[in-house]
């Protein structure tokens, strides 16, 4: 069973301590909600796991093996995929082209290596079907709804059969119906044995899909417990500091 471990992760930017020794685990087939107020260190933690920058102290380990990520490609090579808040999609390209951006399918033709559109459309269609999304591979992302755009961004993470998917505020800027779609997508990832970390401000979403909730306050982990043993009221208290620790 795949396991992502963070041990004593700290990060300071000059005099500012964004994270002060956070321990955390992410297991395959588990959805963890990562909550905290603005500036609590959620984004910093995600960026460290994603390889955007290294931690000042502490260690990341996958299945017990210590990892050193220098750039996002390193983290991706170890099976960690990120769905960014702005989704990182190109509006002027099709769904399939976005899924395969930077990892295009090619076939040889003499000395050339040409894009294999047939195979990319086929594989993208299979990924969308797997996610039970109605997104069509040939459609331009420009013309899609927020939920479909999320599906494209999530399908991209399935391309490499990643073990861990980090999602940064996937439900922040979309309609209620689309939120339900995205939560379904997250459940499907979990059912396929993927470890999902969901960074969110939206309490109902976290309690709807997460197995465990982790709360950060001012760079410190103040709670890490199963969602069924907690409540939105408790988490709110932990985020604001009304409850010190749980």
């Amino acid at each position: 069973m795949a396991l992502l471990e963070l041990k004593g992760i700290a990060k300071h930017f000059g005099a500012i301590e964004a994270l002060r020794g956070v321990d955390m685990e992410l297991r395959a087939g588990e959805v963890v909600g990562l909550m905290g107020d603005n500036g609590a260190g959620k984004s910093t933690l995600v960026k460290i796991i994603a390889g955007n920058f290294p931690p000042s102290h502490g260690e990341i380990a996958i299945n017990g093996q210590a990892q050193h990520f220098h750039k996002p490609v390193d983290a991706r090579a170890q099976g960690i995929e990120v769905v960014y808040q702005d989704l990182a999609l190109c509006n002027n390209l099709s769904a399939a082209e976005n899924v395969f951006l930077g990892r295009e399918e090619k076939r040889r033709l003499g000395p050339f290596r040409l894009l294999d559109y047939g195979r990319m459309y086929e594989r993208a269609a299979a990924l969308f079907a797997e996610l039970k999304s109605e997104t069509r591979p040939r459609d331009l992302v420009k013309q899609m709804s927020g939920g479909q755009r999320q599906a494209v961004a999530i399908a991209r993470t399935r391309l490499s059969r990643a073990n861990f998917v980090l999602m940064d505020e996937p439900t922040a800027a979309i309609s209620v119906r689309q939120v339900a779609e995205v939560l379904d997508l997250i459940r499907r990832l979990r059912d396929q044995g993927i470890g999902v970390a969901l960074i969110s401000h939206r309490m109902p979403d976290v309690f709807a899909v997460c197995d465990r909730v982790v709360v950060l306050r001012r760079g410190t982990k103040v709670a890490d417990k199963p969602t069924r043993d907690s409540s939105p009221e408790e988490v709110t208290g932990l985020i604001t500091g009304a409850i010190q620790h749980a």
């Binding site: 960014y84 990182a88 999609l89 002027n92 390209l93 951006l101 930077g102 295009e104």
Partner: protein, 339 residues
């Protein structure tokens, strides 16, 4: 598309093929290059009817195509740059310095191919300087290429000692043929343009490099996060633009039989106009090789038609400018109906 979903299971295949057909027709109707081609055909039809003896002649066709070939070739390289959301204002001046460089090599009695190689290397090197400053040092493309416009022109004047170069040495005849000759009744520069348009169209659509140009223009940050080597691709786009400017300069010098340091002055505007008329979006991410081709063709046909119609040639600029604005307006209207 939404309505047909209710009987999805029963007519699945029809639905799928129906979707495909519609999307091809839609794509055609939504493409600026298609409408510009229609305009081109319409103008040619009208002119052939109005002035069959002047416009619709083999000689005139030969001249028109050769004239726009020089611009069209550069428009292809410009398209690569504009797709990334950049701009290259230096292409006209690059023509100047490439022409002088090749001319000097010929004048020094070297063979024709060495002159061509020197010219191409000059163009690519200047493009590499542009690209490096823009991609790696993150300077504004507008400012860097504006600077190069001034530098390259000045170097061309200095290198040529402000004299025309016309003694092309032992290989002069071969060199003259490159841009001045013709095959099967079509001028050589036109052949070059046709082959290059096909090649660029192929590269833009069927290689990762081509699609990455579109991705960078669409969302540079997204391209970077998904592992596209954005800086390298951007630099290469400017090198390609320098290369096409060099090819065009060599053909022009060869056709004219002399190299002058004023070669290509203000051509950058005609090149950018061609790509924009052909459907390239200056914000990046939209455009294509065929668009660059028809854009250049349309401008030349309009110029030629005005001459044939006996309009004072000083009016040409006004008409060409009018069509540029019309093209952008058309693009905006289509964009609105799509959203």
């Amino acid at each position: 598309m939404q309505q047909s979903r209710s009987f999805q299971t029963s007519v699945e295949i029809d639905e799928v093929t129906g979707l495909k057909e519609r999307s091809v027709a839609q794509r055609l109707l939504a493409s600026q290059a298609f409408w510009v081609t229609m305009a081109l055909v319409a103008i040619c039809a009208v002119m052939s009817w109005v002035a069959p003896d002047a416009f619709a002649t083999t000689d005139n066709f030969f001249n028109i195509t050769r004239n726009f070939a020089f611009i069209g070739i550069m428009a292809l390289g410009m398209t690569a740059v504009i797709l990334t959301g950049g701009i290259d204002l230096s292409v006209g001046s690059l023509m100047g310095i490439v022409g002088i460089a090749a001319g000097l090599v010929l004048q020094a009695q070297f063979p024709w191919w060495l002159a061509c190689l020197a010219g191409l290397a000059t163009g690519v090197a200047a493009g590499a300087v542009n690209g490096f400053l823009i991609a790696y040092l993150r300077l504004s493309a507008f400012v860097v290429t504006l600077g190069m416009l001034s530098i390259a022109r000045s170097l061309a004047i200095v290198l040529s000692q402000n004299k025309m170069i016309y003694e092309f040495g032992p290989d002069a005849e071969i060199f003259y043929w490159l841009g001045g000759g013709d095959m099967l009744g079509v001028a050589n520069p036109v052949w070059v343009l046709v082959v290059m348009t096909l090649f660029f169209g192929f590269v833009f659509n069927f290689t990762s490099w081509g699609r990455w140009l579109y991705a960078i223009g669409g969302n540079e940050n997204a391209a970077r996060l998904t592992g596209v080597p954005v800086d390298r691709i951007k630099m290469q786009a400017y090198m390609v633009s320098g290369l096409t400017a060099a090819i065009s300069a060599l053909l022009t010098v060869s056709w004219a039989g002399s190299a002058i340091n004023a070669l290509g002055q203000t051509y950058e505007l005609r090149v950018i106009a061609s790509t924009v008329i052909g459907g390239a979006n200056l914000m990046g991410g939209e455009g294509g090789a065929f668009g660059a081709f028809v854009g250049a063709a349309l401008i030349e046909v309009i110029r030629n038609s005005l001459l044939m119609a006996g309009v004072d040639s000083n009016w040409q600029g006004a008409f060409v400018g009018f069509f540029i604005i019309l093209a952008v307006l058309l693009e905006r209207i289509r964009g609105r109906s799509r959203d």
